[in-house]
C-alpha cells in the first residue's frame, strides 16, 4: 500500500481533470491507494510479508524506523486494508497503538476511562467490572474527578495505559507504548504484558527495547524496508539485528524546532558521538576517549531536566547509564550537554545509545538507539592474541609485577610426588 498520502485540494483534481478526464474519474471513485500504483511517489510500506501466528504466541517485531512495523499492526487491527493480499484474524483484537486514543482533555479522568475503554472496544459492563483495577494500576485515584487537562503528562499516560492494559481480548497488538512513566511504572507495564503472555493470549509486540523483546517473546521477526529478513527465537533475531541492520549513525540533527522530536518541555536538536577533538565521521577505537554530545532546546526555565544516555553493546547488555543528574536547573534556550567517555573502557564492537530526558524520576522523552557507533579494535595491545576478547568492557588496568625475593623459597618446597 502507498504511504500516507497528503490530502488534495479539489483544485488539484480539477486541474488534472482537464488534462485526463477519465483517468481522474476512475481514480476518485476507486480505492485511492491502489489507484496511485502508477505514480512516482508510490512506496511499498510492506511487500510480500507472509506470516502465520499461532494462538498463545508472543511475537516480537523489530526493525528500524520506517521498516513497516506499525503498518503491519495497522493492517492486523483493520485500520488500513492491504493493497494486495489479505489478513485473516480469528478472535477479538485489542490494539494499543497509541496511548490515550480518544482521551479528551475537557472530560474528567473517570469519564475518560469510559471513553477510552469504549474506543478500545470494551463494553460498559467490562469497564465497570475492571474500573477499580484500572484506577489502582494508574495510581491516579485521587484525581479521577478532575478534568484531564489538569493532569500532568505522566498521569495522563499512566491512566491511558491503565485502561489499555486491562483489555481482555484474545489478541493484543502493542506498539512501543511502554516507554512511558518512571522506572517503577515501566516495570509494571512490562509486567502486565508478561501477564498477558502467561494467560495464553496472543501478543504482537513492536518495540525497540530489545531486552524486553528477548525476555517476553516466544518468537521474533525483523522487518527491513517492508520485508521480513529474520525470523526465529528472539535472542537470535535481536543479535542479528544489531549486527547486520544498524549502520553506524554517529550523528543526528534536527534543524527545525517545529519538527524536532520532543514535546513542550524539550526538543532535540542534535545528538552525536565523536572522538574528543574529532568529528562524528572519525573512527573510535578501544583506546580513543570520545564525547557523547546532545544539543537541545529547553523550553521551560525553572524545571530541571536531566539528559541521560544508556549504553548497550551488541549483545544487548546494558553497560551503564549516565546523565546530568544532580546538576542545577539550566535556563531555557538552546543548550548542549556532553560528557567524555575515557578510552580503554569499552570493548570493540557495535554499541548503541538510548537517550532519555528525565523530569525528576519521570521520563518525559525517550529515543531508543538514537546513536549507534562502532568501537574498533587496535592491534598493539593484543600482542599475539588474535581471537575475540571477551567481556562487556575492556578496561586497560595497569598490572604490576615486582620482584620479592631472589630464591624460590626453602628446601621444604617439594615439586615432585615424593612423600
Amino acid at each position: 500500500m502507498g504511504e500516507r498520502q497528503r490530502y488534495r485540494a479539489l483544485r488539484d483534481t480539477l486541474a488534472d481533470a482537464v488534462r485526463a478526464p477519465f483517468r481522474r474519474l476512475r481514480r476518485a471513485f476507486g480505492n485511492g491507494a491502489a489507484g496511485n500504483a502508477s505514480g512516482p511517489e508510490f512506496l511499498w510500506a510492506l511487500k510480500d510479508v507472509s506470516l502465520e501466528i499461532r494462538q498463545g504466541e508472543v511475537l516480537g517485531i523489530i526493525g528500524r524506523n520506517g521498516a513497516g512495523k506499525s503498518t503491519l499492526l495497522k493492517i492486523l487491527s483493520r485500520i488500513t486494508t492491504p493493497t494486495e493480499g489479505y489478513a485473516e484474524i480469528r478472535g477479538r483484537v485489542g490494539a494499543m497503538l497509541e496511548v490515550g486514543t480518544g482521551f479528551h482533555p475537557e472530560l474528567t479522568g473517570r469519564e475518560n476511562i469510559y471513553l477510552n475503554g469504549a474506543v478500545l472496544g470494551m463494553t460498559r459492563d467490562e469497564i465497570n467490572r475492571r474500573f477499580d483495577d484500572i484506577v489502582d494500576f494508574s495510581e491516579c485515584g485521587r484525581f479521577l474527578n478532575m478534568p484531564a487537562k489538569h493532569y500532568s503528562s505522566g498521569m495522563y499516560m499512566r491512566l491511558a495505559f491503565a485502561v489499555a492494559a486491562h483489555l481482555q481480548t484474545e489478541i493484543l497488538l502493542v506498539d512501543e507504548v511502554l516507554a512511558v512513566g518512571d522506572a517503577a511504572f515501566q516495570k509494571k507495564c512490562l509486567g502486565k504484558m508478561g501477564d498477558a503472555a502467561h494467560q495464553g493470549r496472543t501478543v504482537l509486540f513492536v518495540s525497540h527495547n530489545l531486552l524486553a523483546v528477548d525476555s517476553l517473546c516466544t518468537r521474533a521477526i525483523c522487518l527491513h524496508e517492508g520485508k521480513v529478513v529474520t525470523e526465529g527465537p528472539p535472542g537470535q533475531v535481536t543479535s542479528r539485528y544489531l549486527k547486520d541492520w544498524i549502520p553506524a549513525s554517529t550523528e543526528v540533527i534536527y534543524e527545525d524546532i517545529g519538527s524536532a522530536p520532543g514535546n513542550d518541555l524539550f526538543r532535540l536538536r542534535r545528538a552525536c558521538v565523536r572522538p574528543v577533538n574529532g568529528s562524528p565521521a572519525d573512527p573510535i577505537t578501544v583506546r580513543t576517549p570520545f564525547v557523547v554530545e546532545f544539543e537541545y532546546w529547553k523550553l521551560v526555565p525553572q524545571i530541571q531536566l536531566d539528559i541521560a544516555g544508556d549504553l548497550y553493546n551488541e549483545h544487548g547488555i546494558h553497560l551503564f547509564d549516565t546523565g546530568t543528574y544532580g546538576q542545577p536547573a539550566a535556563p531555557a534556550g538552546l543548550l548542549r550537554s556532553w560528557c567524555v567517555i575515557p578510552g580503554d573502557l569499552l570493548n570493540n564492537g557495535t554499541h548503541q545509545i538510548d537517550m532519555s530526558v528525565y523530569k525528576g524520576t519521570e521520563v518525559v522523552f525517550r529515543r531508543e538507539m538514537i546513536l549507534v557507533f562502532e568501537v574498533r579494535d587496535v592491534g598493539d595491545l593484543r600482542g599475539l592474541y588474535h581471537d575475540v576478547w571477551h567481556g562487556a568492557v575492556r578496561p586497560h588496568f595497569q598490572w604490576i609485577t615486582e620482584h620479592i625475593d631472589t630464591s624460590c623459597g626453602s628446601s621444604s618446597v617439594a615439586l615432585g610426588g615424593q612423600a
Binding site: Q5, Y7, G32, E98, T101, L107, L115, A118, G121, T123
Partner: protein, 256 residues
C-alpha cells in the same frame, strides 16, 4: 450493519462525549440549544415578518418562523457536524478500528439531542400564542426522522469527500446558508409559483418543514405531494451516500 450494532456502545460514548464537551465550562450549558433557533426566529419576525411584511400562511410570524427553525436547526447542525466528523476524529481513525460510519452517525445523534431540548421549549412557546396542537403531532417524530436522515445522507457524502478534499469544510457553511434560503423557514412555500412547486419539493427539507408546521399548527391539508418528493429525495441521497462512504471507507486511515 451488524457491525454497527456491535459498536453501539462506542456510538453512545462518542455522542455523549461530543455533547458533554460542547457544554462543559459554558455558563449557559444546554440552554444554547434553545437560544440559537429562538433568537434567529425572533430576529426574523422583526425584520421579515413585521417590517418587510413577508406572508406567513395566516399565523403569527413568530410562530411560523420558530416552528420551522427548530427542525431546521436539527438539520443544519447535524449536517455541519457530520461533514467534519471524520476529520475531527482523525486520531481515532488512524489508531483504532471501528466502523467509520459511527462518526457521522454520532454527529447526527448529537443534533437530535439538541433538537429534543429546543422542542421542549417550543411547547410553552406555542401555549403563549394559545395554539393547542391536535392529533397531528403524532406525525412529528416522522418529520424529525426525515430531517435527521437527510442530514445523515448528505453528511455521509460530505464527510467522505472531506477526508480527501479539505475544501469541503469551508464550503459547508456556505452550503448550509444557501440551503436555508432554499427552504421555507423564513417564508411560506406558497410564495413559490405552482409550476415550480414540484422542483422546489426536491429539497428534502421542504417536506420536513411543511410537514412540521402542519403537524403542530394544522394549517390545511397535509402536504402529501411535497412530502412524497422530499422523502424520495432523502432516500436517494441516503442510499447513494451509504454506497460512496462504504466504497471509500478503507482509504480513510491512509489519506486523512
Amino acid at each position: 450493519m451488524s457491525e454497527l450494532w456491535q459498536y453501539r456502545e462506542l456510538l453512545y460514548f462518542l455522542t455523549w462525549r461530543d455533547i458533554k464537551v460542547r457544554y462543559k465550562q459554558t455558563l449557559l450549558g444546554v440552554a444554547w440549544a434553545v437560544i440559537q433557533p429562538l433568537f434567529i426566529a425572533l430576529t426574523l419576525s422583526v425584520f421579515l415578518g413585521h417590517l418587510a411584511k413577508v406572508p406567513s400562511d395566516g399565523m403569527p410570524y413568530a410562530v411560523f418562523a420558530y416552528t420551522a427553525m427548530v427542525p431546521w436547526q436539527l438539520f443544519a447542525h447535524a449536517l455541519t457536524e457530520a461533514s467534519n466528523s471524520l476529520v475531527a476524529n482523525e486520531r481515532l481513525i488512524t489508531k483504532v478500528y471501528f466502523p467509520r460510519m459511527v462518526a457521522p452517525m454520532s454527529a447526527v445523534l448529537g443534533g437530535l439531542v439538541d433538537f429534543g431540548i429546543a422542542f421542549f421549549v417550543l411547547v410553552p412557546f406555542l401555549a403563549c400564542y394559545r395554539i393547542v396542537p391536535g392529533a397531528s403531532v403524532l406525525a412529528l417524530p416522522f418529520f424529525a426522522l426525515l430531517a435527521a436522515l437527510a442530514a445523515f445522507g448528505v453528511g455521509l457524502w460530505l464527510s467522505a469527500l472531506n477526508v480527501q478534499y479539505r475544501d469541503v469544510r469551508y464550503t459547508v457553511g456556505f452550503l448550509v446558508q444557501l440551503w436555508f434560503l432554499l427552504t421555507p423557514v423564513a417564508y411560506p412555500s406558497s410564495v413559490v409559483p405552482e409550476r415550480w412547486r414540484d422542483w422546489y419539493g426536491l429539497n428534502p427539507m421542504v417536506g420536513v418543514i411543511e410537514g412540521f408546521r402542519w403537524a403542530l399548527l394544522r394549517t390545511g391539508a397535509p402536504p402529501v405531494g411535497l412530502l412524497a418528493v422530499s422523502a424520495a429525495m432523502t432516500a436517494a441521497i441516503l442510499v447513494s451516500g451509504l454506497y460512496y462512504f462504504q466504497r471509500m471507507e478503507d482509504t480513510f486511515a491512509d489519506v486523512i
